[in-house]
C-alpha cells in the first residue's frame, strides 16, 4: 500500500442514500473506496451507541446519511 486510506463506516438509509449509492453504481460513477457501508432501515435507527461502537472498533470516520 503506497498511501494510507481511511476506513469509514457509512450508515446509509435503505430508502435514500443506499438507493443513491445503488444509482451511482448503475451509472458507473467513480468514487472513493474508503467507505464500508452498513444498510439501515432508516437513519433514525442510528443510536449514539452505534457511532461509539464503530469508533471503539477503530474506524477513522463515520458517515450517517439519510
Amino acid at each position: 500500500m503506497s498511501e494510507w486510506e481511511p476506513k469509514i463506516t457509512a450508515f446509509l438509509c435503505n430508502w435514500c442514500s443506499y438507493g443513491a449509492a445503488d444509482l451511482a453504481g448503475i451509472g458507473r460513477m467513480q468514487h472513493t473506496p474508503a467507505h464500508r457501508v452498513i444498510r439501515v432501515p432508516c437513519s433514525g435507527r442510528i443510536s449514539p451507541k452505534f457511532i461509539l461502537a464503530a469508533f471503539r472498533r477503530g474506524v477513522d470516520g463515520i458517515w450517517v446519511s439519510g
Binding site: 451507541k49 461509539l52 461502537a53 471503539r56 439519510g66
Partner: protein, 316 residues
Amino acid sequence: MLEYVGKIRDIARRLLSENKVDVVIGFRQGTIPMMSEPAVVSRPEDVDELYWDYNCGINLTNYLTKRTDRIGVVAKGCDSRNIVTHIVENQIKREQLYIIGVPCHGMIDRSRILAALDGQEPTAVVVNDTEIVVTGPGFERKFNRQEYLQNNCATCIHRNPVVYDELVAEKVEEQKLDDRYADVKKIEAMSPDEKWAFFDKILAPCLRCYACRNACPLCYCPTCFVDESRPQWLGKSIDPTDVRTFHFLRAYHCAGRCTDCGACERACPVNIPVRLLTKKLNMDVEDLYGFEPGMVPDVRPPLDVYRPDDPGGFIK
C-alpha cells in the same frame, strides 16, 4: 434554611393526618456533618424525622419514579424541574403529588470543603447567611458561603420551585449571572488533543461504581446500556476507553433533560466533575433549541420531537 424545618414538618403532619397523601418524601438529618439522608414518612407521628438544611443536594425526584401511591414531596428548584421532566416522561402523574416547594439558597459543596480542610475532620458545620463555620478537634475554619456552594448551585437560575402546591417560605431572589457556562467554554477553547488529555485526567479515578448514574433522576431505564449484554456495548473493566464510553453515553442520555441539579457530582465518591459533560449538552440545547428542561409540563423535550425549524447545519 433551618427555618424551613418546622414548616416542612407542619405541612407533612397536616397532609398525613388529613389523609391527603400516603407518604411524604423528604430528608432526614445526616449522621455526619454535611450529609443528609433521603427519608420517607408515612405516619403523622414520625414527621419530626424530616429535616432541611444546606446539605440536601440529592435529588428527591429519583425516589418518585413509577410509584403508584399519593406522595407529598419536598422539592427545591431543581427537584421541581425534575418532577416536571418525570411528568413529561410519564414516570409519575401530577395528581399523585403534593409538592412542598422549597425556595433554595444553594447547597454547600462537601467535597470542596473536605479538600480545603486537607485531612482535618469536621465534627460540626454551621451555616449562616454568609459563612460556613466548620469546627473539629482543635480547629475552627470559616468559609465564604457563596464561594463554597456546589458549583451547580452557584450557577443556578431557578432556585424557586417551578411547580408546587405549597411553598414553605417566600420565594428567594433568583441569581443574575453573566455567564453560566464559563467552565464549558474554557474546555471548548482547547485543541482536540488537549481536550482528550483533559478528560483522560479527570476520568482517571473513576471506579465504575455508577453513583453518578444512580443518583440521577433521569436514569430510570430498567436496563442501562452498560448492563446490556446482547450486544455488549462496552467492557466492564476500568479500561480508560470503557470508562470514557460510559461517561459519554451517560451524559448524552441526559441531553435536553438534565436540570443541572448536581446530584451526580455530589454522589461521586472520587470527586470527578461529571457535570462538565452534561453542562456542555445543556448549553447546546439552550443554544440550538432555546430549551430549558423541566420548566413547562406540556412541552416535549427537543430531542424527542421533530420540528421543521430544527437546526440542521451539521447535515450536508
